[in-house]
Symmetry: none
Subunit: 205 residues, 4 copies
DNA sequence: GATGAATGAGAATTCATTCAT
DNA sequence: GATGAATGAATTCTCATTCAT
């Protein structure tokens, strides 16, 4: 082992993720990334072959926990407890992965054709399958998916609530302001609730 | 009445929505839109001041039902039945609005600064508020949001399942293939289930 | 006679001159002219074949007094008194022609190839010749030209003096603020002074 | 010393000034500049952020002598001799600055809003103030301005005289053809004459 | 006398990418 | 490990102009 491949490489990945998730992949130019790092565009090309390659780098640097989670899930025999544990573990790393999740959710068009994008979507699908177990109906697949998405959505909702421009009169009701920590706890609660609907008969509408 | 302002204008909106939702806002050039319509780029500029203005046109042409739904919701006094009815009505138009919803979900970075984007987000937030009623906790807001998102996500999930490249071995289990109609029914089921969690105490994890 | 060819035509000329002299020929689009008149671009094309044609229209509507002045000058036998009278008459109409003069001075690149531009320059040259009379040296031609330009420049200078952004410390001295009327009087004074230098031997530098 | 920042940068400035002063700022496209240099448009953007920025570059590369002249003038106590010396020094560099002066005189609309344009006008105003000294009347300011303009105008007049299209019959008199050198000498003569009018009582018209 | 709709040509600008040093 | 200089391809947008009605 010879330590990190290079400090700069890691810094590029970090800054790129930050800018991609904040302003979007297409709206972030390599110049912006280079500027923020205090290097030139050409330097980026020393570390990455293309802009798309930086995305690959981001995934490589961040996706390990999810792969581990999937690997773990595949070793287990499906039970409701395993299912709940999947959600808990998925929620556990959420805070660190928040940028990544946002990046993937909000940049689908750019990511659709990228290997990194495919890979990420496959991971999500794999997680969904692990959650609902074998032989599930479409309805159960949807429940499982929504349970996972809950984790992703909580921080998004939190952000909306604290958005300055938000129309306070909208809906006519005041809403509870939550902290980031409360949001994470709530996300896990709700996600568990939802995944426990799996296998239940649907309500009669 | 003087009929449609112009056929071309409406056709631009339709084609733009189609391309924007399929390939993304940034990846769709005005040339592509014009080509598909059999007109020149300059013709687009006769009808819309800027590319962003086309988005505004899309919203103006599509958002009416949602505004009506919000207006209806504001006239009602909140009850669980009203809440369920909101979901049903929201789900009702889903098929026609599928492109619009996808467009908004997958192009946040481009839409964030656009008036049309703000407006759409405000609409969603307003719906969330109408769903959970006054004095809701963050948890209940999250439940309401997830209930709405379920409608948006069902078609997304359906699409994944039928995606050619999908790794069949992923998760090790076969999944039920659903038709578009079944997906819509399932979406409403699950959305109702989730919104009925509103007000319940959270599970002990 | 059937009166003015059309009211709109005259209004186009007036508005165009105003905008051309304020923002420049190239920076003024036909849309701006049309908008300010409350008509469409296409309407302009009913009255004028091209944008350049509007310039021709401006000249046709404004240049008569200068042509008359030239005609008058050609009828006279040159004397210092005739020369002075040329300046006086040229200065007399200055206020009304201010926009036109400014337009021609500040838009040379656009006007260079236009017939209207040629014509205007020829008029100026003709006036210069009338001022210095036959057999003049280059120096005398320059004196005559500067005498004429003085009229053009006075309003320009006045405008600079009253410009808000003008650096008051520049040059370290306060300057006398003049009114428009004073400027016109001064212009004629100085122009006469200068044209009276014609025929004098040059100073030994 | 690290030599010229880049040869290309300087060549861009030179070619741009040439084309801007010959065909006008608006009528000169970046493609023309690039073509004449044998580079691509994008290369221009490597060296200058915008087209307007090239103008800034032109000024930066050419305005030093004028600034020095102003600085020198500010150090002197005003006397008629200082005033005359200002004109002489201004005239001295005229030949090299001819393009620049023409560019500024004939492209006012484009330059009006540019910092470079403001700066240039301020320089001219500053020179005028230095020429007439403290406590001048508007008339004296006008004399000072005309004296400076004489330098600018001489080459313009020369060019008119040698213009092929010039109507030889105009004014009915033949004119003395001058060489470029004679024009410069004449310009300084006449400019001095005019500036010596400063402080004189006006003629009775 | 005028409009609505459209075009063709071209402009400025941006960006990912390359490569010699 | 990195830079300076440059490119090629595209993009959004503007404008004078046309023409059927």
């Amino acid at each position: 082992m010879h330590g990190p491949r290079s400090d700069t490489r890691a810094r590029i990945v970090a800054v790129a993720l930050e800018l991609f998730s904040e302003h979007g992949y297409e709206r972030t130019s390599l110049r912006e990334i280079a500027d923020r790092l205090g290097v030139t565009k050409a330097a980026l090309y020393y570390h990455f072959k293309t802009k798309e390659d930086i995305v690959q780098g981001i995934v490589a640097a961040t996706a390990a926990p999810i792969h581990e989670l999937i690997a773990w899930g595949r070793e287990q025999t499906w039970t409701p407890e395993v299912r709940d544990e999947l959600i808990r573990r998925f929620a556990a790393g959420m805070s660190e992965r928040a940028l990544l999740l946002r990046f993937f959710q909000e940049n689908q068009p750019a990511l659709r054709d990228l290997p990194a994008g495919q890979e990420f979507r496959d991971s999500m699908i794999a997680l969904v399958r692990l959650m609902h177990g074998p032989g599930a109906s479409f309805e159960d697949r949807l429940r499982a998916a929504m349970s996972l998405f809950t984790i992703n959505s909580a921080l998004f909702l939190l952000q909306q609530d604290s958005r300055p421009g938000a129309d306070p009169a909208a809906g006519g009701v005041p809403v509870a302001e939550a902290t980031r920590e409360e949001a994470i706890v709530a996300a896990q609660h709700v996600a568990l609730e939802i995944c426990r609907l799996i296998g239940r008969p649907a309500p009669t509408d």
